[in-house]
């Protein structure tokens, strides 16, 4: 309802706002890399951040916002908008499939995501696929694909095994995957992944699945992340050595997974980058913040929690050049919070995506 009018309004808004530069002034600006600038101006021009500084810019409209400005959150797995369109079940592997075509910009579900401050989403292939295709990075607010063929998704968990379709065994799975990589022509997604040009996201859940995934990644020189791995704390050394990051999936219930809390603390101690997802959680779009908050109440510091949802997530998805931090040249995906962005008690005042105001608490009057 609200989103559709936004989609309609977006171009107009853009037409008027794009050339018209403006600045946001806030008591705290969370850059995303852990650094916080106090009483700062964030100058936005043509949808990107022009500058972050303490002195007022000249000749631009200054919007005083009461609270904290932080980069829009990045969810590294969200299939809400794709329904079941992200798994080509007739085949186990369709490595060249492009997930950006599974993206439905008009899905009503995106609205909730944006209103919780999530401005960037990675749309991966379904868990039942082995080499299911190339994940897309999309902007749920703008309803646009930000980056196609961003990440190669690999399903290496039991979920990727068939019961009456090949392969039914891990041996078969890895044999199949080996063939896929061997057969990959120059410049094809798997070849690019092997060359380390495109990051991979390997879904592995149990410790033994993760262990195997790490060995495979090492053998094929893959870069990127493991998604799943709730018991990563027991594999910190192996993960550290592999140079891969970890993406924790949201849980059904309870919202905060004890394993993930333990693992996140361990990884942060060992300086292994990690991120969260908003997908499939009982808390929906709030899932990733809820999980991060659970980690914080167990001792994870706020900076690390914010990084996991912004800068680190962007790096894992290979979009750190444009997203995940508030810095000159980065996309103006900004969220204005009533308090610290990682604190669950903080409210979203307004959300900007690509410089456009896409959500405002005042306009958001669903049920009066």
């Amino acid at each position: 309802m609200l989103i559709s009018c936004l989609i309609a309004a977006a171009p107009l808004l853009g037409a008027t706002a794009a050339d018209d530069a403006f600045a946001l002034r806030a008591s705290h600006v969370h850059v995303g890399n852990g650094q916080v600038v106090l009483d700062a101006f964030v100058v936005v021009e043509d949808g990107v951040v022009k500058s972050v500084s303490n002195n007022a810019p000249r000749g631009v409209r200054v919007v005083e916002v009461d609270g904290h400005i932080a980069p829009g959150f990045i969810s590294l797995r969200e299939t809400l908008g794709a329904g079941s369109e992200n798994a080509e079940r007739t085949r186990k592997s369709t490595p060249t499939a492009d997930l950006s075509f599974a993206f439905d910009p008009t899905s009503p579900n995106w609205k909730g995501l944006v209103s919780e401050g999530v401005t960037t989403v990675l749309l991966p292939a379904g868990n039942s696929q082995i080499a299911g295709g190339q994940a897309a990075i999309v902007s749920p607010a703008a309803g646009e694909v930000l980056k196609r063929n961003a990440v190669v998704t690999l399903g290496l968990s039991r979920a990727a095994l068939g019961s009456s379709t090949a392969p039914t065994s891990f041996a078969g799975l890895y044999a199949h995957l080996g063939e896929q990589f061997a057969a990959a022509p120059e410049g094809s997604p798997l070849a690019e992944a092997k060359a380390g040009k495109v990051p991979v996201m390997m879904r592995a859940v149990t410790r033994s699945e993760v262990h195997r995934a790490l060995e495979f990644a090492a053998a094929y020189g893959l870069k990127g992340a493991v998604i799943g791995a709730p018991e990563a704390d027991d594999l910190v050394d192996e993960l550290k050595a592999s140079g891969l990051a970890v993406v924790f999936e949201s849980k059904a219930a309870p919202a905060s997974s004890k394993d993930v809390v333990k693992s996140a603390l361990a990884l942060s101690k060992a300086e292994v980058p990690f991120a969260f997802t908003s997908d499939a959680g009982s808390q929906g779009p709030l899932g990733m913040r809820m999980q991060a908050a659970a980690c914080m109440r167990a001792g994870l510091d706020a900076g690390a929690a914010l990084r996991a949802m912004t800068a680190d997530a962007a790096r894992i998805a290979g979009v750190d050049a444009t997203h995940g931090t508030i810095a000159t040249g980065r996309a103006a995906d900004l969220v204005v919070w009533s308090g610290p962005p990682t604190d669950l008690t903080s409210r979203v005042h307004s959300v900007y995506a690509g410089g456009h105001l896409v959500h405002s608490a005042h306009a958001h009057g669903a049920h009066q």
Binding site: P108, N109, G112, A253, P254, A255, S256, K258, S282, Q283, G284, P285, L286, M290, A292, A293, A294, M296, R297, A298, G299, D301, A302, P340, T342, D343, L344, T345, S346, R347, A366, H367
Partner: protein
């Protein structure tokens, strides 16, 4: 040393029946917490070391913090607390730690969190079953062993008390309890009768049918209670009559004997059989046939215990509010209540609290577009409805998230104090424990948290959890 309480045994018409074994005092042999309180009505001794046979609570404990939240919205600065035998015995700024008494210091001290809607500590199959009735008891399903992992997590997160229920698949699931997370021991064995009017996927007719069935059950229970009352008064009058008769007969006995002897003589002379005078009297009145289920539900109808009803959709809620109007003494509590906003005014006016489980709105879900999602708690509270926040009894470990859920509610419009009330003083009041827990006052039980910051802030850590005066968790060990 340890014991727990049931409700004051008011002189209700059901008293005698309850004493026939359905009285929850019979459950007093239960595992029990250190609520050895003078003000507890007839606390029954139940020797019971916690599963891992922990040493008894230290008799003395001293707490100090820069800020003590005595009740929602009311806090005192730089206070010391002295705890003896599980109770707060002294509070004051100038209060110093006595010699050699264990001392715990922190930024903030507040009442422990209470989850008013949970299944933690309850044996999983009993929690899920539909094979329960109004006479079933959650205290029969407490499992300190199978659930120890979950319970330890709760101590860490500061959720030290829970209102648990069983039979989440049943229409009416019997008597719930308030327990301590520490060892899953009951604090109040008869916290509430719980029922649910929430069966997704039913057609409207059968949905209304559910409500009618509940209504007639309540009606039946009420009639039963009335019958028992009538019986008791009839019995009283009968006993008086008979007593009177006895004395009369005793007085007239000599006369009666004389006339009888005379008759005997006459009869002998006539050579006839002696005819005794016919004696008649009213029969003792019969009690109504004992019915444990009705007797149990009658306690809710009579307002002795609250009645918690899980209801989400507007249709059921509207009907429920309608059919419960006649039961004026019943203390209704709603759980879930995703569509409660539609009836906010009536709820506020009838003083019906709502246990909210903050959750995202699901377009096309049970309550469709009406679903306010996380904003529910905030908006209900704004409309003057008392809001409690519970984990929703979906899974045992869900209770661990209680502080997060309350924080999320704040993040979506609920006033911070109201949110704190919703997981401390609120549940304590609704389930009649305000004289024991839910706030920080002299004389109350020491169920407290020592925190590194404000209770609901995500960057706050629970430094120590004190349950009934016993330190059950301390950060770092």
């Amino acid at each position: 040393m340890r014991s727990y309480s049931t409700r004051p045994d008011r002189r209700s018409p059901l008293r005698r029946l309850r004493n026939l074994g359905i009285a929850l005092t019979a459950g007093a042999a239960l595992t029990a917490a250190s609520l050895a309180a003078q003000d507890d009505p007839a606390p029954e001794p139940a020797p019971e070391p916690a599963p891992e046979a922990v040493p008894a609570a230290p008799s003395l404990l001293f707490l100090r913090a820069n800020k003590v939240i005595v009740s929602p919205g009311k806090s005192l600065d730089n206070m010391g607390l002295l705890v003896r035998d599980g109770r707060i015995v002294a509070m004051g700024t100038d209060l110093a730690a006595p010699e050699g008494v264990e001392t715990i210091e922190g930024e903030v001290i507040c009442a422990a969190f209470i989850d008013p809607w949970s299944v933690a500590g309850v044996d999983a199959s009993s929690a899920r079953t539909d094979r329960v009735d109004t006479a079933s008891r959650a205290t029969d399903a407490l499992d300190p062993y199978g659930q120890d992992e979950v319970l330890d997590d709760l101590l860490e997160s500061g959720v030290l008390m829970l209102r648990v229920e069983i039979g989440s698949a049943a229409a009416v699931s019997g008597v719930g309890a308030v327990i301590r997370a520490d060892g899953a021991v009951p604090v109040l064995a008869d916290a509430a009768i719980s029922a649910r009017l929430y069966a997704p996927g039913l057609d409207p007719v059968s949905r209304v049918g559910q409500v009618d069935r509940l209504a007639s059950a309540l009606g039946g229970a009420k009639k039963y209670a009335d019958d028992v009352a009538t019986y008791e008064s009839n019995l009283k009058t009968w006993e008086e009559e008979i007593a009177k008769k006895e004395t009369e007969l005793a007085e007239d006995f000599k006369k009666a004997k004389k006339s009888r002897d005379k008759k005997v003589k006459e009869a002998k002379e006539e050579g006839e059989e002696l005819k005794e005078k016919k004696y008649k009297e009213d029969k003792r009145p019969r009690p109504p046939k004992f019915d444990a289920k009705k007797a149990s539900l009658a306690r809710a109808v009579g307002g002795e215990v609250p009645m918690v009803i899980h209801v989400e959709q507007a249709l059921e809620l509207r009907e429920l509010l309608r059919v419960t109007r006649p039961f004026t003494r019943m203390r209704l509590v709603l759980a879930g209540g995703r569509s409660a906003l539609l009836f906010a005014d009536e709820l506020a006016e009838r003083g019906i609290p709502v246990i909210v489980t903050p959750a995202p709105s699901s377009p096309g879900g049970d309550v469709g577009e009406m679903d306010p999602g996380f904003a529910l708690a905030g908006e209900l509270s704004a409309r003057g409805v008392e809001v409690l926040i519970g984990s929703g009894a979906t899974s045992a470990s869900a209770s661990r998230d209680l502080p997060l859920l309350a924080a999320a509610a704040v993040g979506h419009g609920l006033d911070e104090d109201a949110a704190f009330h919703a997981i401390t003083a609120g549940p304590a009041r609704v389930f009649d424990l305000q004289s024991k827990v839910g706030s920080v006052r002299r004389g109350l039980h020491a169920d407290l948290l020592v925190l590194s910051g404000d209770p609901l802030s995500s960057s706050t850590r629970v430094l120590a959890s004190i349950s009934g005066g016993k330190v059950v968790h301390q950060a770092g060990n």
